[in-house]
């Protein structure tokens, strides 16, 4: 299980984008890869998309969503990708620190050489399409209903109206019909179908579910529970046409009215977002505006096909692994300077070993406590003394300077860190 505090690559989210990124990072040389997932299992939304049609492009197979996810889950686990399930990421910093929480560990504080954001997208809700009327129970997004019906085993109603002719809406119309519900109507405000024609045929036509284009919900009726919706036709400017209203009795209204990339964490990490896509600005490696923070899948822009999300994840994971490797190399090359006995801080915080090959490096520090007697200012690598300098006394108000001479280059090349101490002579 994940108990390390530092990873080469951390992936946030385990949908198709996150799984592909983790697999690809591992295959491209990342030493340890961790996926953080807020759900109890890997796979993301694919687990509730039980209909087939996934994988035609990338796998040349026609699979249901859970099967498509399972193939990538199996591959990730076989490669040794670590997972933290049932864990919510609360914050990501531009320095690639991740704060997360779960029931077992409380608060987790992790560091990563590279991060892949793969949080996917969210459905537009009633508030975002401003549907007038009362606020009874029985108004849900299509994806929420899909989760209940396909995963948790709840039917959210008996008589449905679906607003929006996107693929999720049409697929849910068929699914609800399979489970014994009556789908009274699918309403679409646009003058054309917004999903695929094949889904119109096999989800709506096959089950005689009427579709009305240029129609929307004018108002929701019902006190505690939806009792009906009032539909209305709209003109070419989307204005309701008076006299075309119709009361459609139903107990549930499902909304299939668009998806928005989910970028709460990206924003916290200081990632710049494109106001048009709602996702991060990215380069051809899917790196965001923050170095070392990559993004993959619907968190960038909403894709038509899962296959393309997988491809984006593979590329982002590869880029993250390459970045992480450069960070690792840089860490080996740079020596951290740690304040030891009676040293409050040292500047610089780290030294490029190679710069010692060509010249001296000046270190400056302040002591914690005054010592009014001769002292040594020592630089050590573990127990081994690298260099030292005598001072007649030290005081916190007077900065101490010490030169790390070029001649110690060979000695510190193998060192992992140096510590500084001010001790009595």
């Amino acid at each position: 299980m994940a108990r390390k505090s530092k990873y080469d690559v951390v992936v946030i989210g385990s949908g198709p984008g996150g799984l592909a990124a983790a697999i690809s990072a591992k295959k491209n040389g990342a030493e340890d890869v961790l996926i953080i997932e807020r759900d109890l299992e890997l796979g993301g939304i694919l687990q509730q998309c039980i209909h087939n049609g996934f994988g035609l492009e990338v796998l040349k197979k026609d699979l249901p969503g859970p099967a498509y996810a399972q193939l990538y889950i199996n591959e990730a686990l076989a490669l040794g990708v670590e997972t933290l399930l049932d864990t919510m990421v609360l914050d990501v910093s531009p320095r690639r620190r991740i704060y997360a929480t779960n029931k077992r560990d409380g608060v987790l504080d992790l560091e990563a050489h590279a991060i892949v954001l793969a949080m996917g997208c969210r459905e537009r809700t009633r508030a975002q399409v401003r549907l007038p009327g009362t606020r009874p129970a029985g108004v849900y997004t299509a994806g929420t209903a899909q989760r209940w019906v396909n995963v948790e085993g709840y039917m959210p109603g008996k008589r449905f109206v679906i607003l929006g002719s996107g693929d999720i809406g049409m697929i849910m119309a068929r699914r609800l019909t399979f489970e014994g519900a009556k789908v009274e109507r699918v309403l679409e405000v646009m003058p054309f179908l917004t999903g695929l024609m094949r889904n119109y045929v096999q989800c709506l036509m096959d089950y005689d579910i009427p579709l009305q284009l240029r129609h929307t919900v004018k108002r929701i009726l019902g006190k505690d529970r939806v009792e009906a919706v009032e539909s209305v036709q709209v003109d070419e400017h989307w204005n309701p046409i008076a006299g075309t209203e119709e009361i459609i009795p139903c107990d549930t209204l499902l909304l299939s009215v668009g998806l928005i990339p989910e970028n709460e964490l990206s924003r916290k990490a200081g990632v710049s977002l494109d106001p048009i896509t709602g996702g991060p600005f990215v380069n051809n490696e899917f790196q965001t505006s923050v170095p070392g923070i990559f993004s993959a899948g619907n968190v960038v822009h909403v894709y038509d096909l899962v296959d393309w999300v997988t491809e984006a994840g593979l590329l982002a994971g590869k880029s993250a692994a390459a970045f992480a490797q450069r960070e690792r190399e840089s860490e080996i090359r740079h020596l951290p300077l740690l304040p030891g006995e009676n040293v409050r801080y040292v500047i610089p915080h780290r030294v490029d070993k190679e710069s010692l090959a060509t010249g001296d490096v000046r270190l400056q520090m302040r002591v914690k406590q005054p010592i009014e007697a001769p002292v040594w200012v020592e630089v050590r690598s573990g127990e081994k003394l690298i260099t030292r300098k005598g001072e007649p006394y030290v005081r916190p108000g007077e900065m101490v300077t010490l030169v790390l001479p070029s001649k110690v280059y060979d000695e510190v090349r193998q060192a992992r860190e140096l510590s500084l101490a001010v001790v009595g002579r």
């Binding site: 299992e41 039980i50 087939n52 249901p64 969503g65 099967a67 399972q70 695929l196 024609m197």
Partner: protein, 129 residues
């Protein structure tokens, strides 16, 4: 007597519309559509329409109370309701592995019903067993 019908092909995401002239059960002419698969689809659709079916089956002992399943091949359209009724009577037990047959030769059609995912006992993690 000749009859005109329009059939929308669902073989691929393009969704071509094909116009068919037929006399009784005999297809006289198919017009439109971009490929051979469309012609085949129309003939099959008029003679013996079939659909891929994906649904869920009850399962005990796993993370969720339902296991997603699907038909190994397109299923006769007229018998989908019977298939769903049959699947509603099933109750499985974990563990089940992706691709495992959960109902063999459904309704005598020769078509198997397969598990869409692996579901292990609740204590284990999902994934490969």
């Amino acid at each position: 007597m000749e009859e005109e019908t329009r059939v929308i092909c669902i073989t691929c995401p393009k969704g071509c519309a094909l116009d068919v002239t037929r006399e009784g059960a005999t297809v006289l002419e198919i017009r439109g559509g971009g490929c051979k698969r469309g012609q085949e689809y129309v003939k099959a659709e008029l003679a013996d329409p079939r659909r891929m079916v994906a649904t869920t089956v009850r399962i005990r002992g796993g993370l969720h109370p339902l296991l997603p399943v699907y038909t190994a091949a397109p299923f006769p359209k007229g018998r989908i309701a019977d298939l769903l009724a049959e699947l509603r009577t099933l109750e499985l037990r974990v563990p089940v592995k992706m691709g495992e047959v959960v109902l063999k030769n459904a309704l005598g059609t020769g078509i198997d019903i397969l598990a869409s995912r692996t579901m292990t006992r609740l204590k284990e993690k999902n994934g490969e067993m």
